[in-house]
Each structure stands twice: as C-alpha cells, then as structure tokens.
C-alpha cells in the first residue's frame, strides 16, 4: 500500500537543481519523515506531492492517480492537506483564528452549522479555542502552527503533508504539536502523513524515514533500520555517516576543552534588563554575568526575547529599565569605543551581498578603524583562519550557506573584538557545517579568550555552552551549566528539562490542555461524495469576504485606496491647469504721455495681467525677465503719442518669456487681442465711426462658457484616477499573496481560478465605486464643477468601468511576481495609454496610426466621453449609449485573459 509513487522526478530552479532524479514510494497510513538540513529539496518534493508545484520531469502518483493530470488533481485535491514551510505561511496574519478557519472551511464547502462544529472541535482539541478572536499574526509560533494544522484538517484529508511544521517553535509547543498529530493518527489510522523536518531528534518517533541531501535520497527505512545500518546511536550521527565521502572528509565530532582562567574576570553583566514596546514586554527583568572567555548560550524559541536582549547589550536599542555592563563599563549607545571591543553576527544574514568577500572584510575593518597599515594583514589572517582562501573575490550570495556563515564570523572578528555576540548563527546549516562552525567558536574562546554570547534553538548546541540561560516569553527561566540544569529537573535530556521549565513557567493552563480529539465520520463521507462544482458562489464569496477583511485591516492600502485618488484629483485638478492668469508684466514707458499711459491701462484692466513696478532701462528689463519675475514686458517708444498724432507709423515692443512655450503662446494671443482692441477704440474715438467692425467672429465656448480649466480637466481626470488606483490595488492584492506565500491556498484547495479572481476583484470594485462617489463629491464641492447631465448614467458607466479597471489589475498581477513590479506595471499600463491616447488632452480624432487605434479601443476613452458628456454637456443615456458598448465588451475580454493567464500551479 502506497500513498504516493515518485518516479525519476527532477526539478530545476534556473541553474540550480533542487531534485535529482528521485524515485521513491511512500507507504500509506504511516507517519513518514523527510529528513535533512535546509535546502536539500524537501520542500520542493512536498510541494510536488501536494500538487502545488508543476512537475517538470518524471512522474508522480498520489492517491492512485497521475498528478500531472488536471482532472485527477481536481478530484483528489479535497483529500490532500498541505501546510507549507514557514510559521503560518498560508495563514492570513490580520485575520483572527476564527476567521482563518472560517475561510478554509468555506473553501471546502461546509455549511454554517458544520463549520461551527468543526471549528469548535478542532480548536478545543488544540487549545486554540480561547484565542478564536486573536489575529493569527499575534499568535506565538507554536500556536500559529497549530492553527495551520487546524486549517489543514478542516476537510478531513486522507493525506496530510507538513513542511517543517516545528521549525522555530519552542520545545514545549513542539512536543504538544507531535502529541496532537499522534492523537489524530490514532483516531484516524488510515490517514497518511508526510512531514519534513530538520530536527534529527524529532525524526526518531516517525514510522518511516527518508533521509535527503543535495536533491537526492540518501536512505529510507524505519528509524531503527537506519540506526542499525549505520551502526549509530543517534539519527544525527547516522545522517552524518550517510553523507557522501567528500562531505564527511575531515569530520570529527566537536570536543570541548574545559574553561579555565580567572572566574572573577567578568565580560558582561546585566541587571534587570527590561524592554517594553508599548504595552508589550519583550524582555522582562533579565540578569546574568558572563566570564571572560566563556561560551554563554541563550536557548529559546522565536520571539522569546533573545534577540532583543542581545540588542540591548550592544547598545543597539536602549533598555527601558535595568543596566548592562561590558567589561565593567556601563553600556551607552553613544559610546562608540565600547563597540570596537564587540563583534556582532546577527540572525539575518547580514553581509553586503553586492560586495565581494574581501571587500566586505576591508569595509568592516575600516569602519572599525583598524589602522590602515594593519588592514591587509588582518584580512589575510581572517581569510586563512576561517578557510575562505578559495573564495576571496566571490560575492557572498553565490556562496553556500556554510561558507557565508564563516564569512559572517570572519567579518565579526576582523577588528579583534574581545566579545562576540552571535544571534542564531547556525540556523539552516547542515550538521557538518554546524560542527565545523562550533570548532571555530571553541578555538576562539579557549585560545583567544574571546567571550562568546550565542543564542540558539538547537538543544545539542546549547549543551556545548559553558553555561546557558533558558528563555521564554521575555523571561529567563534559569541559567546554569547545561548538565546542572538537567540534573535540577531530573531529566536525561536538555529538551526534557526545558519542557519541564516551560510547563512550570506557563502554569498548568496551557500544558494541561489536551482534550479528546474526535473527527466525526459522517461529515467526512459528505465531503467525499460532494461533486466538484465548476463554479461555487460560496467559495468566491469566501475569498471576497476574506479580501475585504484584510483590506480593512491594512491601513496603508486602505488609506491609499480611499484617499489616494482624492489627493491626486486635488493635485491634478490644480496641477494640469491650462488657465493662464495673473501674468506678471511691467512697462518700460519711454514716452510718458497720456496716450502711452492709456495704452498700458488697457492691459492692467485685464484679469489676465498683474502690473509690476515699471522698468527704467534695458538692464533692469533683462534682469527681471531672467529671474522669471516678468512674463511680459511692454516697451513704448519715445514720441509714441506724437507719431500717432502725425500718422507716422510707430511700434510698441512686447517681450514675451518663451521659457514655457504653452504659456508664451497664450500670452502672445492675449497681447495681440488687447492691442487690436485698443486700436479699434482709438479709431472709434478719432473718427466717431466703427469702420473695421463690419465683420465679427462671434465665438461661443460651449459646455464651459467661462473657459475655466477645472470644468474641462476634472471630468477627464476622474476616469484616469478611477483606472489607475483600483488597477494598482487589485494587482497588489494578488501579487501580495504570491510574495507572502498564501497563494498556495489557490494551488491546493478546490477553489477555481474564476472564483479566486472574482472573489479578489469584488471588494476592490466596491472600493472603487466609493472612490468614484467621493471624487464626484469633491468635484462638485471644492472644484465647483457641476454635474449637468444624468448622474445615474454616469454611475452606471462608472460601475462597468471599475470592473474593467480592477480587471486590468488582475491581468497585471498574473504576469508580475513582486509587489513593486505589479505596482509599476499596473501604473504604466493604465496611465500611459489613458493620458496619451484616451483623449484627455488631445481628442482621439486628432491622433494617427497606432495611437489612434489604442485610443479607439481603450476603455478610458469611452469613459472620458461619458464623464465629460454627463458633467459638462448635460447628456443622458440616450445620447451616450454608443460609448457604453465598448465598456460592456471589454469586461469579458479582460477577465477571460486574466483567468487564462493565472496559474493554478506553481511553476
């Protein structure tokens, strides 16, 4: 009986080969462990098994069917549950426990009552019932994993796939998690479980193991078989022995030389260190003393306050309360000199990826002010000591994790610090590299008397420390020699001792949780028989409801969605103004007669011009025009009045600032008009007749009689913004899931692409419509642009248009991978055609070639027509129906394209 058959499966990521021609049969009804350090291909294999990832080469059969067949995947998908790697990776952090579970339950089509019963069952048996209202993001690591498990179990799977479910979880939560799994197994023995893990000690409890390294299977069998075959006492040893010869080359178990030296020489002392962020206490009253040359370990799960404590010691963050001393001096964040005595290696891999190995070392040496003449020597020494001789000019990113770790240590040591602070330096490294790393640490401590302060969540590493502290929830539970800690608790392993401490610390409440786990069978058969629907409204609504909740809880996105377009409308309304008003001009009047003043008066009376101080000479004219103060200068020649009197031709000079061509054109027009007008006035005064006015051109500015910019621009800008913002937000919504990993729920649950798309789209359509109403309100009130036509027509068009805009966002999201790319892509794909070709500034009928074609087809063109028609031209539906047709047609085209391009499997 096998649950999955894997035949000659390979997988590449670009040049990297993650799986090398693997053939494997996984027995059904068993707890199967996939064993190996990070990056050996465990996760890739599991995501292939779950159907989340597309098979590149080879064949995989799961639950008696070919996983490359879509029909088979659709059929068995409700029977597989997949929990991806990473704490709460497929959960939604802003949603509460209840909401997360409701979401998953709806995807699998349970009724309201059934959902309630299952959620209560699962949460009660996992101890999450009390926390139903808490957002998933605020749960501890262990609780997140339990919630992940509940979400996976909500549909009674036959095949449960767990990818490193206990990494980064404290030992107590870990043991509880395994108890939970084994109880589930007891109640439902036919269920097959595959678990990936990097903790060798956990693997001993599984029924069957697959040891993996470097994309290949090293060995399979029960734990006992593997131990016997390698004649080892522990799986960790067994694993090392299974590794190929070249990897094991030169490997020796770590030996710790005892600590000697003066016990009163204190390197670090902390008293009552406390750190609060708001009302959350990250570190609570922590005290310890560490001798010079000692290796001191901090053991605890993710988020227990280890890193924060270390940061307070380095002066990176000031402690809320309490004090710390380094080498007898109080830690002062401003004292740069103590920092030179400390080397720090942080949890995140913190080298400059853009700098080579040597450049990284040199940069750090310089920043620590190692004397210039010593730098080359120090760097060379570090390279030999930490075995980097083969890679001095490589970029860190191209190096294997183990070497990068050594480089980090070399960088931390380059200035010969007396104290090394290492924050989980070995996470993700294979056992051999980890042991090699430890040998370096021991040498530093014993030979160079460097004090080492290290945090870890590996028990066997903690055991190697001279002394250690166990930390949980910001508190130090106890500190002592590892052996003494075990002795105090009467346990044989450090893990058991730690669990004992944790149980004591958390009181009885959490530990004494276990309730009877029962998965009632009738519901199961119901799910099994439910046929696969082509389109389920419930699943779509489930996605819609979840998206709406998330949006509401993300302040940046919802603010941007709600007021972003208002801000931009405001800015563009004033920014893209074609009005030319209040032009500053000055006069150089060399005539100074009544007539010359009469001429200038005709200008100062106009609302377009603002008179400035008169000019005296050309130099001043030049200066004031260069500074941009004057847009126009009039020069009236001397003898102006006299020449007119005599009928001698004369000329008024006008200088226009041509720096802004558009404005200059307008100024030219105004000046010519005013000049003509003045001439006519003069002629009329002189002859008392109106000779030249036999022909007139009567200009009527329609729809916008005052020729104001705002009534012309605002109805055009609203469609523009209504396209850009919703498209961007929708694109982000999908790509965010890709980046955060929750997209895996689309891959492995029965939800179809159409349901997913529509569910994601609808909240943004609603948001866009609200946005549209707000923009109309702003237009009518602030900009005083009245709506003269039928608002219902405009609203109807806006609804169609919002569906198109969000649809374009979905389309953008299918071809982008990162949020930044999605944002820019959505912006470029909407803004450029909308501004240039949709008739916002120049009408489509004035365009030629490709621009004309884009303009005719692009939905924004028609929306701008409708918007202008309703706002300015007093039109209603019967005048505008022809512009509706392209909008209605665009919707199915865009949505179909988006659905076709969306992938239901990861590539």
């Amino acid at each position: 009986m096998t649950v999955a058959r894997i035949k000659q499966v390979s997988l590449h990521y670009g040049k990297n080969q993650a799986l090398k021609n693997i053939t494997l049969e996984i027995p059904s009804g068993k707890m199967v462990g996939l064993l190996g350090p990070d990056g050996v291909g465990k996760s890739s294999l599991l995501s292939l098994l779950s159907g989340a990832k597309k098979i590149q080469a080879g064949q995989i059969e799961v639950l008696d069917g070919d996983m490359s067949s879509k029909a088979h995947r659709d059929k068995i998908c409700p029977h597989i549950a997949y929990m991806p790697q990473g704490l709460g990776k497929n959960l939604y952090p802003t949603l509460s426990v209840e909401e997360n579970l409701q979401f998953f339950a709806r995807l699998f089509g349970h009724s309201t009552a059934e959902r309630r019963r299952r959620i209560d069952d699962l949460t009660k048996s996992t101890g999450l019932h009390k926390f139903l209202d808490r957002p998933a993001g605020k749960l501890s690591g262990g609780m997140k994993q339990k919630l992940g498990l509940c979400c996976a179990l909500i549909h009674d799977p036959q095949f449960l796939i767990l990818d490193e479910p206990t990494t980064g979880v404290d030992p107590l939560a870990r043991s509880q998690f395994w108890q939970l799994i084994s109880r589930i197994k007891q109640d439902y023995p036919q269920m097959s479980v595959v678990v990936a893990t990097a903790y060798m000690d956990e693997a001993a409890a599984f029924d069957w193991l697959v040891a993996m390294d470097n994309g290949e299977v090293l060995a399979t069998g029960t734990p006992e078989e593997i131990l016997v075959r390698t004649s080892s006492s522990s799986l960790e040893d067994a694993f090392i022995k299974l590794l190929p010869e070249e990897k094991r080359h030169g490997y020796k178990p770590v030996e710790i030389t005892p600590l000697s030296g003066d016990a009163t020489d204190i390197a670090i002392e902390a008293q009552g260190l406390t750190m609060r962020f708001g009302d959350f206490t990250a570190v609570d009253n922590v005290s310890f003393r560490i001798r010079r040359g000692e290796i001191f370990g901090f053991l605890g799960s993710n988020g227990c306050g280890k890193s924060t404590t270390m940061k307070m010691l380095t002066g990176l963050i000031p402690a809320t309360e309490g004090k710390a001393w380094l080498f007898g001096k109080e830690v002062d964040p401003r004292d740069l000199n103590t920092r030179k005595r400390v080397g720090y290696m942080s949890q995140a891999f913190s080298l400059y990826g853009e700098l080579t190995v040597v450049q990284n070392l040199v940069l750090h040496a310089r920043l620590f002010h190692v004397a210039e003449q010593d730098i080359a020597g120090r760097v060379a020494e570090m390279i030999t000591r930490f075995d980097l001789t083969a890679v001095p000019d490589e970029l860190p990113e191209s190096l294997p994790l183990g070497i990068r770790q050594r480089l980090s240590l070399a960088v931390a040591m380059v200035h010969e610090p007396e104290l090394l602070i290492l924050d989980e330096p070995t996470s993700g490294v294979d056992p051999i590299a980890r042991d090699n790393f430890w040998r370096l640490l021991i040498a530093l401590s014993r030979q160079d008397q460097v004090t080492i302060f290290i945090s870890t969540h590996f028990m066997n590493e903690a055991e190697r420390c001279d002394r250690m502290s166990m930390m949980h929830a910001g508190k130090v539970l106890d500190s002592d020699k590892p052996a003494l800690l075990m002795q105090k608790r009467g346990k044989t392993t450090l893990e058991a001792a730690f669990i004992d401490y944790l149980i004591e610390a958390s009181g009885d409440s959490q530990a004494a949780e276990p309730e009877i786990f029962d998965v009632t069978t009738p519901a199961k058969s119901k799910v099994l028989t439910s046929p696969k629907q082509l389109f389920s409204v419930q699943r779509m609504l489930s996605y819609m409801w979840r998206e709406a909740l998330e949006l509401r809880r993300d302040p940046v996105r919802s603010t941007l969605g709600l007021i972003g377009s208002l801000i931009l409308l405001f800015v563009m309304g004033f920014g893209i103004s074609m009005d030319v008003e209040d032009l500053r001009y000055a006069v150089l009047d060399r005539d100074q007669t009544v007539l010359s003043q009469n001429y200038t008066l005709s200008l100062s009376g106009s609302r377009y011009f603002l008179e400035q101080e008169p000019l005296r000479d050309y130099a001043e004219l030049d200066n004031r025009m260069r500074s941009g103060e004057l847009a126009l200068v009039l020069e009236i020649p001397s003898g102006f009045a006299r020449d007119i009197e005599r009928g001698t031709p004369t000329a008024v000079g006008a200088w226009v600032d041509g720096a802004m061509p558009q404005r200059a054109e307008t100024v030219k027009g105004y000046v010519q008009g005013i000049h003509q007008h003045w001439l006519m006035e003069q002629a009329r005064l002189r002859t008392n007749t109106s000779v030249s006015s036999a022909v007139g051109i009567e200009t009527r500015y329609r729809y916008n009689p005052d020729v104001r910019s705002l009534p012309a621009m605002v109805p055009g800008i609203i469609p523009l913004l209504l396209l850009m913002m919703p498209a961007m937000l929708t694109a982000l919504a999908v790509v965010r899931e890709k980046e955060l990993g929750s997209i895996v729920n689309l891959y492995v649950t029965p939800v179809t692409k159409i349901e997913f798309m529509l569910g994601k789209q609808l909240p943004y359509v609603a948001l866009a419509i609200i946005n549209f109403l707000l923009m109309c309100l702003l237009a009518v009130t602030l900009f005083e642009v009245p709506i003269t036509g039928s608002f219902i027509t405009l609203l109807l068009a806006a609804v169609l248009y919002c569906i198109i805009a969000t649809g374009l966002g979905l389309l953008a999201s299918t071809i982008t991978k990162s949020q930044i790319a999605a944002m820019f892509f959505a912006m470029l794909a909407t803004m450029i055609p909308a501004i240039q070709f949709a008739g916002l500034l120049d009408p489509v009928s004035s365009m030629e070639g490709a621009g004309r074609l884009i303009g005719e087809l692009y939905p924004a063109t028609h929306m701008i027509d409708i918007s202008r028609g309703v706002f300015s031209k007093a039109l209603n539906f019967s005048d505008l129906y022809h512009s509706f047709l392209p909008l209605v047609l665009a919707i199915p085209v865009i949505l179909t394209a988006a659905v076709l391009l969306l992938k239901k499997q990861e590539r």
Partner: protein, 374 residues
C-alpha cells in the same frame, strides 16, 4: 576626522551596492537618456489635426475660400455639415470646432452690412480650445481681409505691435520638455535611490549590523545622502551635455555649473525626504505607494508643468515649503533664461533652509525609527 572617514567609506559602499543593482542602474540610465529624449520629442504641438466642421449656409466664393483655408497638420480637413448635425456632432465630441457661415455672408460684407460668423468651440478640450479658437479667428479674418483687399484697398494700422519672444524665439516645446524632464528626474531619482538604499539595508538586515559598529546614525544618513546625490548629479550633468545639448540640440543659455550647484542644494533636501519616507514605510511596496502620493504633488504643483500663478493662492503658499518649487524656478531661470547667481540667490537660500529643516527632521525620525526597526 574619523566621522568624515566613516561617511566617506559608507558612501563608497553605497556606490558599490548601486553598481551591482542592475535594475536601478537601468532605471537611472533610462530616465536620463531615453525617457528624456522620447518625452521631449513626443511633446505634441498644441494644435495638431484639430477636428473642425463648417456649416456653410452661404455657399459663396468667400465661404469656399474660408473652408479651404483649414488643412492638416493643424486642422483636419473640415467636414461640411448641416446645421442639424452641429449639436450632436459636438455632443459626441466628433468636432472640437464648428464654424457657422451665415446665409448671404459675402454679399453682406461687400455691402458693408454688419454680419457675424459664429465659431462654436468645445471648451472641455482646453488644450485645443484655447489656442485653436484664436487661430481660427486669425485665419478667417486674414481670408476676409485678403478678399476685401482684392475688392478694394484697405489702410494699414498706424500702430504696430512688435512681438518678440525671448529665450525660446520659436517657442519650441522640445526645449521646454527636455529640460523639465531632467528637473523632474532629479527629484524622482534622488528620492527613490536614497529611500530604496535604506529599505534595502533594512530588508537585508545590514542596517542593524551597521548600528553595532562604531558609526553613528548621522554618519549613515550623510553617507547615503552624498553618495546618491553624486550619482544623480552626475547623471543630470551627463544628460544635459549629451542628450539635451547633444542629441536634441537644445541651446542652454546659462551656466550648467550653476545649475548643478542648485541641484546639489536641492538634492540635500530630496535625499533627506527619501530617507524620511523610507522610515515611514515598512517595506518596498509601502515605500512605492507613499512615493506616488508624495512625489506627484511635489512635481505637478511645483510650477514645472503649469505656471504657478494660475494655481489657487493657498496651493501656491503651501508649495513655497516644497523644495521642488524653488528648484524648478531656479533651474528655469538658469537654463532657459541664462540667469546668474545674482538673480537666483533667493531660491538657493530657500533650498538651503528647506534642506536643513528636512535633514534635521529626517535625522531625528531616522534615529527613532532605527531603534524600532532594529
């Protein structure tokens, strides 16, 4: 001394990082070359193929003369329509202009009777409506007076208007568009580069690493400011010389060095702003969204795209606090009008003041933020 050395080293490190960031390099190259060139050359003439229709109720030689006076590229060949077609045609946006020549137009003119041509303009199309209607009036009047001159002589006007356009005599939009593109790029890139440099360090965890070294936040911030500032300044100088003066053959009136000095002052303010935005955002996507909301107003309301004087007073006053306003005004003065330091010193002073305020503010915000983010 030691602080200066640190600032120098950290800045060089930023340049190293940038050198390996292919996407950023492409962005810088693209915006300062291809984008400047295409935007400048693609600036449309105001009046290009404006759709025009004529209702000719006269059908005389004069009206035919007027109809034939409109032709591409400024106007579409006029469509001859009936009076009934006029309203629907304008409502649907088919025509921006409709000229209505009344019956008996020619005979009325010749008889000296008062008569009017009606010009209807779709004023929702501002760009065409404004310059177009003036242009159409001039064309029609010219046709009429030429027609009349044939019939009988016409006296010339006693006072002439000599219009001279300074700084850009032929009003070429390329001159304006290309230089404005550089001015906008300087602002945009300096904010993106510094902001992204800070966020990248934070995402990679290297910022935390820097903070445990004997360097101060002020040094970190100054290093980012000078290095990214130099990159943008260099790119702007390159673009001015090779793209604008070279490829586009736009004459630059003033001193490029003076412009670069002004740009340096401006960069002090905008790079500080970039860091400030980066402290507000938790990650790149948030940074991108904030950028859009901050950058667009800074650029659109600076006076770079439309004259400041046509904005409401309130907006004008608020924008006095924005560095872009002063940068645009000094850049236009120097590059278009050849102004010297004696003319632009008030803008320089403004930039120094705004830059110092922004820097101080960003620095205190940066100090606070790094303790939280670390």
């Amino acid at each position: 001394m030691r602080a200066l050395a640190n600032i120098y080293r950290l800045g060089v490190k930023e340049l190293w990082s940038l050198r390996r960031d292919k996407i950023m390099l492409f962005l810088i190259f693209y915006t300062f070359t291809i984008s400047v060139y295409t935007t400048a050359t693609a600036m449309p003439e105001t009046l290009h193929k404006a759709p025009i229709a004529i209702v000719d109720e006269d059908a005389s030689p004069l009206s035919a003369r007027i109809v034939s006076a409109f032709y591409p590229p400024q106007f579409n060949t006029p469509e001859l329509i009936s009076l009934q077609q006029m309203d629907p045609g304008m409502d649907s946006g088919r025509y921006t202009f409709v000229v209505n020549i009344p019956p008996n137009f020619q005979s009325d003119i010749l008889a000296g009777n008062i008569t009017n041509i009606q010009l209807s303009t779709d004023a929702t199309r501002m760009s065409q409506a404004f310059s177009g209607s003036g242009y159409i009036q001039q064309i029609i009047m010219a046709e009429i007076s030429e027609f009349l001159q044939h019939q009988r002589g016409l006296a010339s006007t006693p006072v002439d208007l000599e219009l001279r356009v300074r700084f850009n005599p032929t009003l070429e939009k390329v001159w304006f568009g290309s230089v404005m593109q550089i001015i906008n790029n300087v602002t945009m890139l300096s904010i993106i580069l510094t902001g992204a440099a800070l966020i990248r360090e934070r995402e990679h965890g290297t910022l935390e690493h820097l903070l445990v070294m004997p360097v101060t936040p002020t040094e970190i911030m100054l290093a980012k400011i000078w290095s990214m500032g130099v990159v943008v300044l260099f790119a702007a100088a390159f673009s001015l010389t090779f793209v604008i003066q070279g490829a586009l053959k736009v004459p630059i009136e003033g001193s490029v060095m003076l412009f670069l000095l002004g740009a340096a002052l401006h960069l002090f303010a905008t790079t500080s702003l970039g860091i400030f935005i980066a402290t507000l955002a938790r990650n790149m996507p948030q940074f991108g969204m904030l950028m859009i909301l901050i950058l667009l107003p800074l650029q659109m309301l600076s006076g770079g795209s439309t004259p400041r004087e046509s904005m409401p007073d309130l907006v004008q006053n608020i924008m006095l606090a924005a560095p872009t306003t002063h940068f645009v005004s000094q850049a236009q003065a120097i590059l278009y009008r050849g102004a010297g330091l004696d003319v632009v010193w008030p803008q320089f002073l403004w930039l120094v003041i705004i830059g110092s305020v922004l820097f101080t503010f960003s620095l205190s915000r940066f100090r606070k933020a790094i303790t939280q983010m670390a």
